[in-house]
């Protein structure tokens, strides 16, 4: 990725918007539409809510653009706004099962991976199967909130460990622990599904 060039252009566009060329905000956010929506969708479980939350996050970014300091990347700032928007919606949803923002008690924390001998399918081919895409989405959405948040920031939005720690307001050590558990939980959930979905021929009794 051409990070430096993008960042410079972004900084220029932001300065221009703040100077009054507000219509340029459309261009500024275009590259980030998908990541903001994915973040909202994975946190809120619901397409309509996610779309509304994503729109709201972009509006908040517009209204608060003057507060954005170039210390963090614009994308990180946007994702952080989205996370807060989704969190406040989760909190206000009385009907939904309460999800704790706190770390579950230690001891319940250890996660073991699924044991397997190999992974036969080529990753890019697996995704051609619609049911696997849904399975993967579901597996991410089913993660407990604290694990889902860190997994989304780090492995979907590709924030660094330090950036993720800052956005979540937790230590780097906590980021690493939570991320590890999140990844192993997903491995454990997805890998057996893959095997069942794609049984090897030699398992057939008549062979």
């Amino acid at each position: 990725m051409t990070g430096t060039t993008d960042n410079r252009n972004e900084a220029q566009i932001i300065a221009s918007i703040l100077a009054g060329n507000t219509h340029e905000f459309h261009d500024l956010i275009r590259p980030h539409e998908r990541s903001v929506y994915v973040m909202a969708l994975s946190l809120l479980h619901n397409e309509a809510d996610a779309e509304d939350a994503a729109q709201e996050a972009f509006l908040k970014a517009f209204r608060n653009l003057a507060n954005f300091r170039g210390e963090s990347k614009f994308s990180t700032w946007l994702i952080s706004i989205t996370l807060n928007e989704a969190r406040s919606r989760l909190r206000s949803k009385k009907t939904m099962k309460m999800e704790s923002l706190d770390e579950p008690p230690e001891g319940q924390g250890h996660v073991s991976p699924a044991l397997l001998r190999d992974w036969r399918e080529i990753p890019s081919e697996v995704l051609e199967r619609q049911e696997f895409r849904l399975l993967l989405q579901q597996a991410i959405t089913d993660l407990p909130l604290i694990y889902r948040e860190i997994f989304l920031l780090r492995d979907v939005e590709e924030l660094s460990v330090d950036e993720s720690a800052e956005v979540l307001g937790i230590t780097v050590a906590s980021v690493k622990v939570r991320l590890h558990r999140a990844r192993i939980m997903l491995q454990k959930k997805l890998v057996p599904q893959l095997k069942r979905d794609n049984p090897k021929r030699r398992w057939f009794p008549w062979l």
Binding site: G20, T22, H23, F25, H26, I29, R30, E33, R34, Y37, V38, L41, S42, E47, E51, D52, A54, Q55, E56, F58, L59, F62, R63, S112, P113, A114, L115, L116, R117, D118, W119, P123, S124, V126, L127, R133, L136, Q137, I140, D155, V156, E158, V161, K176, L179, H180, R183, I184, L186, Q187, L190, V191
Partner: protein, 102 residues
């Protein structure tokens, strides 16, 4: 020092991120060279991460972009009327109150 599979599993995530301390990394690597099970766990975890990053996993709903930019446009006009306009339209007090749809 030889470490057991169970201990290697605790380092899978750090291994993928390249954040393991040198001595742990060496132990894990030595173990992986000989252990088919742990290698498969590492590969499959890595595959899950590769798959997650694929754009096909999460697709934007149809018309998402159009609806977003339409809403933004309305907001942008409300907050900051075009400076070039001869008539000075101002929407005092509109900001923050116009989004009462929640």
């Amino acid at each position: 020092m030889v470490i057991e599979c169970k201990h290697v599993w605790d380092h899978i995530s750090g291994y993928l991120d390249g954040t393991l301390p040198a001595e742990v990394l060496e132990q894990v690597q030595t173990h992986l060279e000989h252990c088919e099970i742990c290698s498969a766990i590492l590969d499959s975890t890595r595959n899950v991460l590769i798959l997650t990053l694929d754009e096909r996993v999460f697709e934007l709903p149809l018309g998402f972009s159009e609806r977003l930019h339409a809403r933004l446009e309305a907001e942008i006009r409300a907050i900051a009327p075009a400076p070039s306009g001869s008539e000075r339209k101002r929407f005092y007090g509109k900001e923050g109150k116009s989004q009462g749809t929640r």
